[in-house]
């Protein structure tokens, strides 16, 4: 029998094999089908290709033949395809139809390479909304622009491209092998794989598009040019950048040498991988939901024989799930759970403060449990070294119930806390004793204290006395100086600070006032024109004020007709740092050089260094924005717990989450953490944590 016939016979025989179907497969399938929403009677499609109205196409073609270049001629241009270059597809009926069905503004290209025209418009609403615009070209691979609140990319090496001045992340991953005998002329990385028969690039970025009416929501837009062997050449990289320019309307779209945005997605690379395995690539997914973006990534390691180790890492705010039968194993600094994902795939899953991790393999004989543990420990040991957390208990104190907003003395030996009584009063904790700070006799509201050595200053107002009183209190002898205020405010106590040993400062509607303790006199140091100009007060007044730790600068938020304004006053100069989106909170860094702010719907923030701003995402801000003294960490309470954002310059490079209720915490001047909790016996307990 010749070889052809042999193969033929073999294939036929294989076709006769009885492949056993799992006995419960039909039942499981039926269950799953009917737990999925069924289509409506009207024929709503969950995934469809939007087609043109054929009547219009025919009419347009006829009109084209007679040479009438009217609106119908335009439609015929769309139906017959364009030769590429500048395009306007916003009036394409398919685009219009899809736009009505998705909750975000479509990102439409205004330029495509020569030879391409819009061929298909696809809408997938089976999971998240996803729109795909497919451009076809003669002799070339299709160009696909996809927009969704999710993105999934798979690459070995990546380059980063900056769009305009925004920090919106985007990645270009090229897994392209050269065509023919020579290298390609475009820029990118080349992916060497014995199995690579997919050639192409992906460039994706986050795009600000209105979702449900919120202009600050974003989607992911991917520009993909990918070709199977038979489909022709792909779009050169530089033209893909031009496509992105057209979509975003931004001229500056260029590669950057440093992977700044990559730091947001920096996964922990295991320092141990069994012999024979090599790094093969990263699979990264990101999703926008409710204004929050969450990431997960998967590093892959393979052998030539297709054995695989996967190290999957995801946001620690998403908990791990393991079967009940999982075996708990003590790892370095954490507990891991050994279990089987399926009959062929063992896995070890564990939590860390940086990521939750799952290490798995498809070959349990080659990669045993001990190997998985070694890989896991090589990850946890890195997290311990790089990402310290304030979790070592060093002391505890008891305070009155409802105590909150602790403000520690410079030597961290004392603190002032605020207690909710008929009003909000301040108490000093010192040497295990609580002292009521003066001002209670007026049944007043206490403002935040500011420390100078062993003294503190604060402002107290009441309904009867809106000017209120300033107090300078000496914690050594408990004597105090009462200072009548000539300043007027609107029911809120001011926030005075010491600017030197003898002078306190405060801001009211007239500007910056100082009071000399020797002269016992107020002086309007600098008049600040809050009416008009770059900053004006509305009826509500200044919403929030924040002094730098050394008292040299002050920032405030005012609400104006132009939106919220964040202004900084520094050595006589006024700088408008932000205008527009609402600002919820401010905090100066301990080195007095950077200002952090929380903006928008509790889901974004930025850091400003006097010149530039860099933004970061938040999983719903709840309060307590503060820089950890002495560390490059910006902390705040968010939905999942205490977020410790590690900062380099003005960039947030990594976030640890301490899960739990951290609504009531404070930072000591030495960087330790004070956490106030109800101890369950109707007492409040302050626990001091040290970093480890």
């Amino acid at each position: 029998m010749n070889k052809d016939k042999q193969l033929e016979q073999l294939l036929r025989d294989m076709g006769k094999e009885n492949i056993k179907r799992p006995s419960d497969l039909v039942a499981k399938t039926i269950n799953r089908m009917h737990s999925t929403p069924s289509p409506s009677k009207g024929g709503r499609h969950y995934m469809k290709t939007i087609t043109k109205n054929m009547g219009i196409v025919v009419a347009a073609s006829i009109l084209l033949l007679v040479g009438l270049f009217t609106t119908w001629g335009t439609l015929s241009w769309l139906s017959n395809g364009t030769a590429g270059g500048s395009i306007d597809i916003s009036q394409d009926e398919r685009i219009i139809e899809v736009q009505q069905q998705v909750p975000f503004e479509l990102a439409l290209p205004t330029w495509v390479p020569q030879g391409y025209s819009l061929d298909e418009v696809k809408l997938d609403i089976s999971d998240e909304f996803q729109v795909s615009l497919v451009f076809a070209g003669s002799g070339t691979a299709p160009l696909v622009i996809t927009q969704s609140t999710q993105v999934e990319v798979f690459f070995r090496d990546i380059e980063f491209v900056q769009i305009g001045d925004w920090e919106d992340g985007y990645i270009i991953g090229s897994h392209h092998r050269g065509w023919g005998n020579g290298p390609r002329s475009d820029i990118g990385y080349y992916y060497e794989s014995p199995h690579s028969d997919v050639f192409g690039h992906t460039l994706f970025f986050t795009h600000r598009s209105a979702i449900y009416g919120d202009p600050y929501e974003r989607t992911f837009v991917s520009v993909v040019s990918e070709s199977l062997e038979s489909e022709g050449s792909t779009v050169p990289t530089r033209e893909m950048l031009d496509i992105v320019k057209g979509i975003t309307g931004v001229d500056k779209v260029e590669f950057v040498s440093e992977g700044e945005n990559f730091k947001r997605w920096s996964l922990i690379t295991p320092s141990y991988i069994p012999r024979g395995f090599k790094y093969s690539g990263m699979h990264l997914t990101a999703e926008f939901k409710g204004g929050v973006v969450t990431y997960s990534g998967e590093l892959g390691y393979v052998t030539p024989g297709y054995d695989l180790i996967k190290v999957r890492q995801w946001d620690p705010r998403r908990p791990i799930t393991v079967p009940e039968s999982a075996e708990a194993i003590q790892l370095m600094d954490t507990v891991g759970y050994y279990h089987w994902i399926d009959s062929h795939t063992p896995a070890l899953t564990f939590e860390t403060t940086a990521f939750n991790v799952e290490v798995s393999t498809n070959n349990a004989e080659l990669v045993n449990q001990g190997d998985l543990e070694a890989i896991a420990n090589s990850i946890t040991s890195q997290i311990s070294k790089v990402y310290e957390t304030p979790t070592e208990v060093i002391s505890k104190y008891h305070v009155l119930p409802t105590t909150s907003n602790l403000i520690f003395s410079p030597d961290a030996s004392m603190f002032v806390g605020y207690v909710e009584a008929n009003n909000r009063i301040a108490q000093l904790w010192k040497d295990d004793t609580l002292y009521d700070l003066p001002g209670m006799e007026t049944l007043s509201q206490y403002g935040p204290v500011s420390w100078r050595g062993e003294r503190l200053v604060y402002h107290v107002v009441s309904d009867d006395d809106k000017s209120g009183l300033f107090y300078v209190y000496n914690t050594q002898d408990h004597n105090f100086v009462k200072i009548q205020s000539t300043l007027e405010w609107l029911n809120h106590p001011l926030q005075p600070v010491f600017i030197n040993d003898e002078t306190i400062a405060a801001i009211d509607t007239d500007g910056l006032w100082t009071y000399n303790l020797q002269d016992e006199s107020w002086n309007l140091e600098t008049h600040l024109d809050f009416q008009g100009g770059s900053s004006s007060l509305t009826r509500n007044g200044i919403q929030k004020l924040s002094w730098s730790p050394d008292g040299s600068k002050v920032a405030w938020i005012a609400h104006t007709e132009s939106g919220a304004e964040l202004t900084v006053f520094n050595e006589g100069e006024i700088t408008l740092v932000h205008q527009g989106e609402e600002i919820l909170d401010l905090a100066w860094s301990w080195d007095n050089k950077r200002l952090a702010a929380i903006t928008g719907a509790n889901t974004q923030g930025f850091i400003w260094d006097g010149e530039k701003k860099s933004s970061f995402d938040i999983n719903y801000y709840l309060g307590n924005l503060a820089w950890v003294p002495g560390k490059e960490i910006l902390a705040f309470t968010e939905y999942s717990g205490l977020a410790l954002n590690h900062v380099q310059g003005i960039e947030v490079v990594h976030t640890n989450i301490l899960a739990g209720d951290y609504a009531n915490h404070a930072w000591l001047p030495n960087g330790n953490l004070a956490h106030v909790l109800d101890d369950g016996e109707e007492r409040y307990e302050v626990t001091i944590f040290h970093w480890q």
């Binding site: 070889k3 052809d4 193969l7 033929e8 073999l10 294939l11 036929r12 025989d13 294989m14 076709g15 094999e17 009885n18 492949i19 056993k20 179907r21 799992p22 497969l25 039909v26 499981k28 399938t29 039926i30 799953r32 089908m33 009917h34 999925t36 069924s38 289509p39 009677k41 024929g43 499609h45 969950y46 995934m47 469809k48 089976s126 999934e152 798979f154 794989s193 199995h195 028969d197 997919v198 990918e226 199977l228 062997e229 038979s230 093969s280 690539g281 699979h283 892959g300 393979v302 297709y306 695989l308 996967k310 399926d342 009959s343 062929h344 498809n362 070959n363």
Partner: protein, 176 residues
Amino acid sequence: MDEQSIVLRCQQGETKLLDQLVRLHADSLHRFCYHLSGNADSAAELFQDTWVKALKNINQCKANGTILGWLFTIAANIHKDRYRRHKRWQILSRKPQLALPTDSMDERLVNLEQRVLIRQEINKLDDSQRIPLILFYFEDYSVDAIAKILEVPEGTVKSRLYRARKHLKNRLEVLK
């Protein structure tokens, strides 16, 4: 009730009737999913996903068309989308899991090694070749029927089958 009637009534809202088609075509579709995906677990997953999608898109099914062909198309499209996105993981992680024949092993042992090799090589084929190959040799479809399912000319089906066979033959020679 015949298939076309079931489809029509599903399109009018009686979606529970689709269960009958699930049972009717379970073996054929499962085999197809197995040959596409290359292992039992992926086949089961693809089988379920195909039916879920079929239910969602039931209004797009032409009641007078080949229902099974429509299901094959859905399965192939799902697999293709996943394959494009997960190509490397699938290639790298897929270890051919033989569905060992349930009839006498003695008759098959001589060819077993070759079958292992062939399955591995089929798994590496591009979908444009693999799907026609599976339909022709494993599902006994004619060239004409395959052309209708894949919506390509008959000549295209023939050339793809030819290229697939040529590739497999060459690989068998190399691996011996």
